[in-house]
């Protein structure tokens, strides 16, 4: 099998309205590559939500990025103080990638 290296998979559930700000924060942490995944509905401590399209304000997305451990740590440190106030849900895990130098 081709050789792979380990990188961090950072998955952040965020209000779509705040996504542009998260993209900025990621760029500040040196992360340029990301993918946004649509989300349908969910529930948490704030009750249920669903994207009603009428008021875009309740739509959420998943911001997914593969990054080096160092960049991921920088991003997490930058976001940590606001995770709760901004209603974000952040998870980190290890993944293997082919040609890891681009992350």
């Amino acid at each position: 099998m081709v050789t792979t290296v380990t990188r961090k998979r950072v998955e952040i559930l965020i209000d779509s309205a705040l996504a542009p700000r998260l993209i900025h924060a990621a760029a500040d942490a040196g992360i340029e590559g990301y993918t946004l995944i649509p989300v349908q509905s969910g529930a948490g401590r704030g009750g249920r939500w669903r994207d009603d399209a009428v008021s875009g304000a309740s739509a959420k997305s998943i911001f997914l990025t593969i990054a080096s451990e160092e960049k991921a740590a920088r991003l997490v440190d930058a976001l940590a103080p606001n995770l709760d106030a901004h209603g974000m849900l952040l998870t980190l895990s290890d993944v293997e990638v082919v040609r890891g130098e681009r992350f």
Binding site: G46, R48, A53, V54, G56, A57, H86
Partner: protein, 319 residues
């Protein structure tokens, strides 16, 4: 009383009630998001163009200038009143009260559209320029709301850029102003070729959209955890106060009955599109669940069912 009967027997309102009822009965009926968003774009373009065409006929009149100035002033001023009620009677903290107040100073496009629909059937159709007033009232309240929420705090200069951009170029402002200008440029003749879409289908598509609004408002009300009894009461009291102020202002500056009623309904209505998005950016710590439960869950149905006939009757009395 005609206006009450006209309101409650209009298919437009009946579909709204169907949506509310389906949501309360927890039916799984939903309008796909993309369709709902498409309908809302359609409504803004249609009403923008019709307003522009009307102004291309009537020209820019002193009435127009007076209504525009009154609209902007109301949008700036009304949040201060609402903020007082929210913090004192509502016991809501400063940041959340500022966010909610901004919603009530701004306006709801669909409430306006529904009102125009109902006023039209009564021979009280408001002037075409009221669409421009609608567009102008969307954003000043955001400034007032932020000033209130941040009173005594230093500004967040760094982020302001993105916010102003969002406020001035948000989708509904661009659509309303853009299609107003296109309607104005095209005039009645240019509009004719698009009339089967933007005029012919208007009422039917408004029925569909209000069905969705009923579902969305009803579900928001059921699923909210943020709405206290006091907040719910304010979500009816504030539009009553704002609507009365708006209608009286309209009458005082000499608008015709229909336009004065429309100004009242604009003042009474609360934003659930432009303002929530701006507040999410500017005051991320404010709870969007609270302001949407109030504006979308309570005030919107209240205005559609009771506010429109109420302020119309008020405008008729004092007109």
């Amino acid at each position: 009383m005609d206006i009450v009967i006209a309101t409650l027997s209009s298919p437009v309102i009946l579909f709204f009630i169907l949506g509310l009822a389906a949501a309360f009965a927890r039916s799984d009926l939903t309008i796909p998001e993309a369709v709902a968003k498409g309908l809302s774009i359609y409504l803004m373009i249609a009403i923008g163009m019709k307003g522009g065409v009307a102004v291309s006929k009537s020209g820019f009149t002193p009435d127009l200038a007076a209504a525009a100035a009154a609209g902007v002033a109301l949008s700036f001023a009304l949040p201060y009143l609402a903020f007082g009620l929210l913090t004192r009677f509502g016991r809501i903290d400063r940041v959340n009260a500022g966010a909610v107040a901004a919603h009530y100073g701004s306006v709801s496009v669909v409430t306006f559209v529904t009102a125009v629909e109902i006023l039209d059937r009564q021979g009280l159709g408001p002037a075409g320029y009221m669409v421009a007033v609608l567009a102008l009232m969307e954003t000043p309240a955001i400034i007032s709301g932020l000033l209130l929420a941040r009173r005594g705090e230093r500004g967040d200069g760094d982020r302001a850029g993105g916010l102003w951009h969002e406020v001035l170029l948000n989708a509904s402002v661009v659509l309303l102003i853009g299609s107003f200008v296109i309607g104005f440029a095209a005039g009645a003749e240019g509009f004719a070729a698009t009339a089967p879409l933007f005029d012919g289908l208007f009422r039917g598509l408004l029925c569909l959209f209000l069905l969705d609004m009923g579902l969305v408002a009803g579900r928001r009300l059921i699923e909210t955890r943020a709405l206290t009894a006091r907040a719910a009461a304010l979500a009816i009291l504030i539009p009553l106060v704002n609507g009365a102020i708006g209608t009286l202002t309209g009458s005082a500056i000499g608008l015709d009955t229909g336009s004065a009623a429309a100004l009242g309904i604009l003042a009474a209505s609360a934003s659930y599109i432009a303002v929530p998005a701006a507040m999410r950016l500017a005051l991320p710590k404010a709870d969007p669940g609270l302001s949407l439960a109030m504006s979308l869950g309570v005030t919107f149905p209240f205005n559609i069912i009771a506010g429109i006939p109420l302020f119309t009757m008020l405008a008729q009395r004092i007109g």
